[in-house]
Every structure is written in C-alpha cells, then in structure tokens.
Assembly symmetry: C2
Homo-oligomer: 346 residues x 2
Amino acid sequence: MPSVTIKDVARLAGVSPSTVSRVISNHPRISKATAEKVRQAMETLGYHPNMTAKKLVSKSTKTLGLVLPRSAEELFANPFFSEVLRGMLACANQKQYDLLMSSANNPKEEMETVTRMVLGRQVDGMILIKPRKADPVIEKLLALDFPFVVLGRSLEHPDVPAVNNDNIAAAFDATFHLINQGHRRIGFVSGPPELVVSGDRLAGYQKALSQVKLPLRDEWVIASDILPKNGFHAVSMVMNAPDRPTAFVVSDDVVAFGMIRELVGAGYQIPEDVSVVGFNNIVLSELSNPPMTTVDIGIYHLGYQTARHLIRILQGEKVPEPNVTVPHRLVIRQSVRFLSHTDDSL
Amino acid sequence: MPSVTIKDVARLAGVSPSTVSRVISNHPRISKATAEKVRQAMETLGYHPNMTAKKLVSKSTKTLGLVLPRSAEELFANPFFSEVLRGMLACANQKQYDLLMSSANNPKEEMETVTRMVLGRQVDGMILIKPRKADPVIEKLLALDFPFVVLGRSLEHPDVPAVNNDNIAAAFDATFHLINQGHRRIGFVSGPPELVVSGDRLAGYQKALSQVKLPLRDEWVIASDILPKNGFHAVSMVMNAPDRPTAFVVSDDVVAFGMIRELVGAGYQIPEDVSVVGFNNIVLSELSNPPMTTVDIGIYHLGYQTARHLIRILQGEKVPEPNVTVPHRLVIRQSVRFLSHTDDSL
DNA sequence: CAAATTTGTGCAAACGTTTGTATATCCTAT
DNA sequence: ATAGGATATACAAACGTTTGCACAAATTTG
C-alpha cells in the first residue's frame, strides 16, 4: 500500500536513485557518510526493494520452480513428498532462494505450467520430481537448454543432472535381507509402472533373486496402482495360492501399511505369517505396529541435495559430477521374521 | 535463452508493441486481420510473455505467499501439511494462481521472509498456517493492511479472515465418544501449547468432561512437545498411577501413533487395555494397526478453502463471512474399546 | 605544482510489459 | 461533398530497479 520506492529514499537523502541502489548493494565506492544518510532515509521511510523490478532488470529471480507430478493426487498424500519438500525448502532458504510451486492435473497442464514458469522467466531453474519414463518435460527443458535437475533419474538421458538413490542396490539390499533371514519365496509390490524409480526397484529385486538362483515368478510381483483401490485383490490371489510367498518387498511404506492392514484383516500376523520390508522410512514407519523394517532412502537429503545441486549449477560452480547419489540403508525393525530352513510351518 | 520479446513479435508482424499487447489481452478494437497476423508471428517466434515485466507494470503477481511456521521441523514431517498444501495447490491452480513458498528457522527469519514477500511485492496475498497465540506476523500484516487469511484462527483478532475447524466442538465430540463408550477416566495429549489450535482442543476436552460432571485431572493432560523426544515419560508416569486413564484423546494422529507404540512396547494392548482417539485422520490412520478412531478435520478442504477464501478476497468478491468453518466428523474405527460399566477389569 | 589517478556521485538507458492519449483511416449521415 | 463518429493502430510514458558512462572533486605521484 505505501509503496515507497528508491526514488523516495533518494529524495529524502538528497542523493540520486543510483546512489541508493549502490548503497543497497554495498558498492565499494560509496562514502561512509552518504551510505549512512541513505540508510537513515530507508529506515525512516520503511523502504523495501520491489523484487519484481529487481528481477526484471537483473534477469535473475532467485526462485526455483517446482511442478507437481501429475500423479500428485496419489504421491502427495504420501509423507514422502512433504519430507522432500522440507529438504528443498531448507536448502533454498539457506541459499536465499524461494520456491515457486504449481500443480497440474494432467500431462498437458504440466507442460503448460513448466512453460509458463520457464519461458515466462519466473524461475532460474526447475526441479523435476520423479520423472516418468520418456518424460516430455525433460525433453522440453533440454531443448530449451534451461537449467534443471531431476529428483530421480532420466532413463533416456543418463547425464542430465540428477539426485537419486541407487534404487537398484536399495531393492537388492531389501530383498537380500529377506533371503538372509531364510526366506525363499519372496513377492514384490511395485510402484506406478510409468515411473523410472519403479523399474529400478523391480530390477534390484530381480537381481537379488537371480544372484541366489531363486526363480522369478511373475505372479508374485504386484503392481501397486491396483492395490489401494481394488481392495488388494491381487494380494489375496497371491496369498491363496498353495505355495504363497513368506515375505514381500514393498516399494513404498504407505503401500506396505495398506497391505499389512489387508493381511491382518485376512487373519495373517506380521511378521509371524508374512514378513514385509518397506521402502522410504517415513516417520510413521517407526511408529507403526509392528515397527516396520524398511530401507531408509534419506528423503530429506534427497530434497536438500536436489535443491543444492540446482543452485550450484545456477551459480556456475564447478559441479564435479552430474549425478549425486544419496545413500540408503536398511533399517531393521520388527516386520521381518527369521525363517529357519528346517521350519516348514509356512 | 532465446528471449523473444513483444517487440520482436511486433516487428515481424509489422505492427507496434502495443498492438501485440492488445492482441494478447483480447482488446475489442483489434481487427481480425491484424490479430491473425500477430498470432502468426507469436507462433513462429515462439513468443511467451515475460511474467516479471507483466507483474511490474500490472502490479499484480497472481501469486500467493506461504511461509512455513517456524515449527516446520516438527509439523512438516506430518502428513497434515502435505495434505493441506495439496488442497491449496489444487485451488490455486484452478484459479490460475501460483504459490510462493519459503521456510524460516525462527520467528525473526519468519518475519523477514514475510516482509520480503509482502513489501517486496512478490505476492498478492499471504496464507498463514496455524498461527501462534499473539502471532506477530498477524499484527504486521494487519498494520500493513495487506490481504491475508489464516488457516486456523487468531485469538486476538477474531474477525480476521480465517478458515478453520470448530476445534472445540471436534475435541468435544472425540471426548464424548469415549464417554459414550463407557470411559470415565480420560486423558488428553495436547499439541504445542503456543498454537491456538492446541488451546481449542484442550477446551473441547474440558467442556465434554465438565458436561458430564467428570473431574478435570491436571496430571492426565500431557503436553505433546515433551512426547516424542523424551520417550513418553509423561505417559508412563500417568499409566503407572493406581487409577490410570482407560482412554486418551490425542490431538494429532502422528503423536497418537507414537503413543500407541510406546504403550504397546510397555505391554498394553490397544484397544483392550487403553483406548485412543486421534485427530486429523491422515491417510495412515486408516491403515494402521489397529485402524485408528480419529476425528476427520477435512485437511484437504482446509487447504483448499483457505486458498479459495484468499483468492475471493483478492478478487474483491463479496465475502459473506470473514470466517469459514470446515466441518469435522468422528471416524470410528478400532482403537476404542466399549467399556461396560460393570466391567472393572480396568 | 601540474599531471595522473582514485574516489564518489549523477545521468540516462535498459529490462519487457501495459495503457492513456493522439492520430489516421474509414464509414455513415447530412 | 463533408462533418462527425467509429474503428484501428501507433506513440510514449510508466512500473522500480540496475549499471555503464561521464564527470567533478579529492588524492597521489613525479
């Protein structure tokens, strides 16, 4: 409302607008005296720079763009997202950047929003969360030569700046933990098939099985997108077969919760009858009943490093590696049972 | 990078920049012919308006500001937040607004960020999430006469535009449900004491007790901020007393999870030994073991309506009521036991 | 002590739009 | 034919900054 500009300050301080500007940016060749005078004037007038004007002339917005994946509806109810966001905000905040967010209901809207942010010069760089396979947004940004980093990885462009877990290794570890605990019949619940991350985790699972020469049984891998809605029919189908799995690797903790709930409802005990290892280690994994064994992928760091990486690039710092990998670790709690080989109660 | 401006379009189309501008904004007095010519030129050049310039001259940013409460660290790991955000984004997106976010580590930073957004004219309005009692940010915004709405309510300024639940009634309902189920010794776990919402829920709990002439026992109300860190000492202290509560109202589902976990760890069964009713109905409340009885406060709607309310105000629509109340409802699941009055097993 | 350099400040252009006012062309009505 | 009003477009100022250049004053140098 008051809208006091640099000119008002200049007038009161008895100097030119450019001098005021230089005082603000600590230009070296401003005398101590005028600087003081100007600061005084700013103070009494309650001056604050108009960021929009500043952005226009400086051609830098100090803002990072973030468009929510169209799968937002699902992914978003997931604590994963807020934890990632928390990391991003923490980093952005520290480096004096803001985050401009928008959501989109479908791929078309998503592209439009990206376009508006990028071509509309509202942001200095973009963050892409969990890209799809053959993601057109990546193609677009690449074509525009606009700075961006993906949280996850691009299948088609391996050298695009990215922050990711080694999801193959992570799923391998999760699966191998079950193997080490004596399990031989291990099922897998995968994430949305269009996401790169889903493919990686599936691959890690398969790798672990084949390493110990266990057969891959297609009927034991379940696509999670049919899970929460359809009452887990796929799960009960698998469980009703004569030689059912004794354990599952589930590529998302939330889905794992839903699955456990179904299993419990069907009369199974966790981990006595079925073991489960989840993915992500969200806060509630620790608080659930039973506390869930899961692979901690460092969600907060994932977010933090993604923002960090992008800002580094924007500031022209030497970026040693295009890709940064956030370490994961298996957190062993109580949703996995040790299965003696001589035990054939299952 | 290419940075094609309105002038480039004008040149190619053989008209003046102002004409191009008017074509874009569908000015009535532009001939069909030129309009076509200009659109053609925009197309071939791949023109997109520079939003920053537009914002500068139009003095409207089409952006909503959101500063994360300093309690972000805690609140944020909470799915509550992402669900609220999802609602806000959905509404903003629909009304063609963006969200500018920032976080702050302490009240001072918070104020600075608000100042930067508001006085820096980066946003048209602000959203304040769950204000504290005597929140200085509210005072500031009021003093500046800057449009904002709070998600929650202001204690000191009841007529400030706000979107909220009737938290007193909600906590009353939760407590009364326990009473109806036969409970007479009911504890309460409160949220961070500096938040308005915490006070309201506590009041609702007290109201329910006094309505049925149950004594208020101070030692049975536990402040949650001492909960997750200190291993729930307060809980075990309460539980070890000779006449311990048979049930708790817990003003946040996440805290309820943590509490249940502690209780289970101490050998109690839920709901057989202790009943719990939570607050918020986050996604995982349904999936937990046992599924949690909780009051659904419509988190998504809370977010959606907050954005909606602010946008209404910004667009100068007649706003019938300064405050909108999002309805709540008790969702009965399986964390509460029916307690026969003749049953003195507890 | 004059010349050269440094120091401090102002002027004006630029960033890419929007919009009020002026002007030119074209109708329509007298 | 011609005034009067539409209609369609151009001009230029404005939004609030930053910054290259010019220039005066102060300081250093030989």
